[in-house]
Amino acid sequence: MRRYDTSLQLIPESNPHMWDGVQKAGMIAFSIGLLGLVVSTLGGGPVYAGIGLGLTILGALVYIVQTRKDGPPGIKNHYIMFSSALSRGYLGWMAAIFMTGFYIILYFHPQHLKSLVVLVNPLQVWLSGSSAWNDKGEMSQWFLYGFLYTVTILVMGVRALIKYRHSRYQILRTLSVMFFQLAFAFTIPNVLAKLNDGLYFEWANIWPLRYYELFPYSVEDLLRNGALGKFMLFWSIASILVITPILTYFFGKRWYCSWVCGCGGLAETLGDGFRQNSDKSLRAWRVERWLIHSVLVLIVLTTGLMWLNHIYGGSVLGSLSGKFSIAYGFFIHSIFAGVIGTGFYPIMGSRVWCRFGCPMAAVLGLLQRYFSRFRITTNGGQCISCGNCSTYCEMGIDVRWYAQRGENIVRASCVGCGMCSAVCPRGVLNLENGPVRNRTGIPV
């Protein structure tokens, strides 16, 4: 007799009792790979790192493809709430601790990643023209991080593509984040660095998300690098002052947050299975508004101080602005965006950073709220208040609150992932761009 024991639920719709040979093989490969990676951080050397990396990627892909091709296309969120890993069970907490630990090692103890850095160094040399070790013999872990980040988005992107294959919006959006990560965030910056004497520039990573991009030292660095450097500086300024307002006016913040941005890309792929863990309470919304706008104020202040200090030659503020920038980098960028933002996926949902911290999201949110054609439209009186939309909103918006009143959703935080529309069993919700007047759809 086939049994469905929910207590052993590792991953939704996939009880180990019901795995076929291919799924089991995939999971075994993945587990051995993970073990290999752990051994490599304990000094096991690049061979372990190579076996570890290879087997985790291969195992994950085999498992994902075999699991997800089961059944006709459509929303299949079966068993998510019974899953220990996805529903804050002990496996979820273990995953959170593991991921948080990885970020702490990455930021503060990178020497443990040496085997992995050695492993991918040939690729780094080939792609970017420089080694992970500088002339003084100091190691940089950041190429490795970019590599792992990209691979994760690609592998988990395959999962999202299969899971949401019934929706062309989801397919195109997933392909978009995979493309922007692979091309704009990873390959192009490295290749350009190789061709231009190490000049590294991320085209799709906009200030204030890339917080130091408009600091005096970054700007001077770009100005030293000829026509290309000047164009990069022009691009940086145009990105935030021209491109962002125009695209957000027409399409909402989604053009960036869920189609282009790397943080968004990771949330939509690796984080997709955790999206239901975001807090939907009114209290969380209050915290969110205070926090995210405080971070925006902080980075604007920090950037301003840096420039003041630069203009007055450091005589006015002394080392204060430098301390501001270091503190921002440590507390906001490393701890908030990295350790908490990604490490806490299994506990607080996939958009912790995007929702509570990202200053770029704050700018886009203000634009979306007050100067945009974007809204989520509610289809008449068809809402049955089931709660699927709110449950699967990664930004913690209580979508149902609006939908059941027949009110359109105009919220600063909506990243336009389109999942509320996808999971709605009555076809009530739709992402639309339309006239700015009376966007909420409530008769005036």
Binding site: G74, N77, G381, T391, R426
Partner: protein
């Protein structure tokens, strides 16, 4: 003064409470013995399937009721005393009311089948049914569902997520034969087969067989076929829940009889939602509308009456929606299950079999009176506007693109639908395209 007391905290009762509170400061009390807080009944299936937890089904956070000064009583009403204007409860002292709203909902139909009281045999309507179903379907291999309606197909989907084999007994010659036309019924039937549901049409339940321990072991059909199973879902519709009012002086028929102002035969007592039987004229057989949407609209109307603006219930252009496994369904206006003499119809199905669409219109005037859509989302307000205005089939088809509510980048079928119409139409229709990006 006792204020407004509402029996039942489903969509009807809750909507009355909320809308009264929007319009007045009168005390409002809501009594339920099913759940402490309002939850979405149509979403029960998602808890079983693991899409949501029970908490997710609550449309309002628990603080909402106190903040809006709506008192919640978790108790069972035993008796109404219309003379003294009092309610007697099972576990707490009597409650006085100034105005009383009966919103007790429905009960599953049991038609007296032999064996319907065996363990493992049940309907699905409330929270307690869901808990029972969780227990009844643990570690079983196969189930039989009786009755081809919406709850039946939901139950089939629920069981299939647990990899339980499903046999679906339907009395009519097609799925949901008292609502859907034969093409749509066959269309959904094919989809059910895709999901490995064993659909048995024109098959009636004769008897349910139990084992020595009193648990179901098989069902017998009217043809004498025995189908082994460990679970039987009885989903042959619902009827108004009259347990409370049947023995009172309040007039009942199929439901609690009310006029179009939702007033019962007793002074200051009203009824709305599933349990109400709305009678246009006195003594006539009324209509029962056991739908989420109508419950909500009736309650909004009743709230106005309770707050001093006596208002008649007018449900407007009919609409409904549902989902059959992966296929969403919307209907606007009226599409009768059998073709009518005075009307013409356009039926279209996509080549892939994932979508179908029907328009029903008057033979002579061409005025559109009903629409069915499966697998394509259409705008409620647009169709409502068209039908209120008496738009013709040509007008609707010309502007069909404007009514599409599918997400961006989805494949569009409007041209294909118009082509199907033009094949037989005297005057061809040209589809008007939506502007690119809404601008050009």
């Amino acid at each position: 003064m006792g204020g407004i007391v509402i029996i039942g905290n489903g969509i009807a009762g809750t909507t009355v409470a909320r809308h009264v509170r929007k319009q007045s400061d009168r005390p409002v009390t809501m009594i339920s013995s099913e759940s402490r807080h309002f939850y979405s009944r149509p979403a029960l299936m998602y808890v079983y399937m693991g899409h949501m937890k029970l908490d997710h089904l609550k449309p309002y956070e628990d603080w909402f009721w106190r903040k809006n000064d709506i008192e919640l009583v978790f108790d069972y009403v035993r008796r109404i005393d219309p003379e003294e204007k009092r309610l007697f409860l099972a576990n707490s002292p009597p409650i006085a009311y100034d105005k009383l709203v009966i919103a007790t909902g429905s009960k599953s139909n049991y038609f007296g089948w032999p064996g319907q009281h065996l363990a493992g045999v049940q309907g699905l309507y409330n929270l307690q049914d869901l808990e029972l179903m969780e227990r009844n379907t643990r570690d079983i291999r196969s189930g039989v569902i009786v009755g081809g309606g919406l709850i039946g197909v939901e139950m089939a989907e629920m069981l299939r997520t647990r990899h339980i084999d499903v046999t679906f007994l339907v009395r009519e010659d097609r799925y949901w034969g008292n609502i859907l036309r034969s093409e749509e019924g066959a269309f959904i039937g094919r989809h059910l087969k895709q999901h490995h549901v064993d659909l048995r049409l024109e098959t009636e339940l004769k008897e349910i067989l139990g084992d020595a321990s009193g648990r179901v072991r098989a069902v017998v059909t009217h043809r004498g076929e025995e189908i082994p199973c460990q679970f039987v879902g009885l989903t042959a519709g619902v009827s108004p829940n009259l347990d409370l009012v049947r023995d009172s002086t309040i007039d009942t028929g199929r439901g609690v009889r009310v006029n179009t102002f939702l007033e019962t035969s007793a002074p200051d007592i009203y009824a709305c939602g599933d349990c109400a039987e709305i009678c246009e004229r006195e003594g006539e057989r009324g209509r029962v509308e056991p739908l989420w949407y109508t419950g909500k609209m009736q309650a909004e109307t009743l709230a106005k009456t309770l707050c001093g603006h006596r208002t008649a219930y007018d449900r407007g252009v009919w609409f409904n929606s549902a989902k059959f496994f992966d296929i969403e369904y919307q209907t606007y206006g009226m599409v009768s299950p059998e073709p009518q003499d005075h009307e013409d119809t356009l039926y279209w199905e996509s080549p892939s079999g994932g979508q179908c669409f029907r328009l029903v219109y008057h033979k002579d005037s061409g005025v559109v009176t009903g629409m069915n859509s499966f697998g394509i989302r259409y705008r409620h307000r647009t169709f409502e506007r068209w039908m209120k205005r008496g738009a013709t089939v040509e007008e609707v088809l010309t502007n069909l693109d404007e009514a599409n509510f599918d997400p961006e980048f989805f494949k569009r079928f409007e041209q294909s639908i118009v082509d199907a119409y033009n094949k037989t139409a005297a005057r061809p229709v040209r589809l008007r395209r939506k502007k690119l990006l809404g601008l050009f």
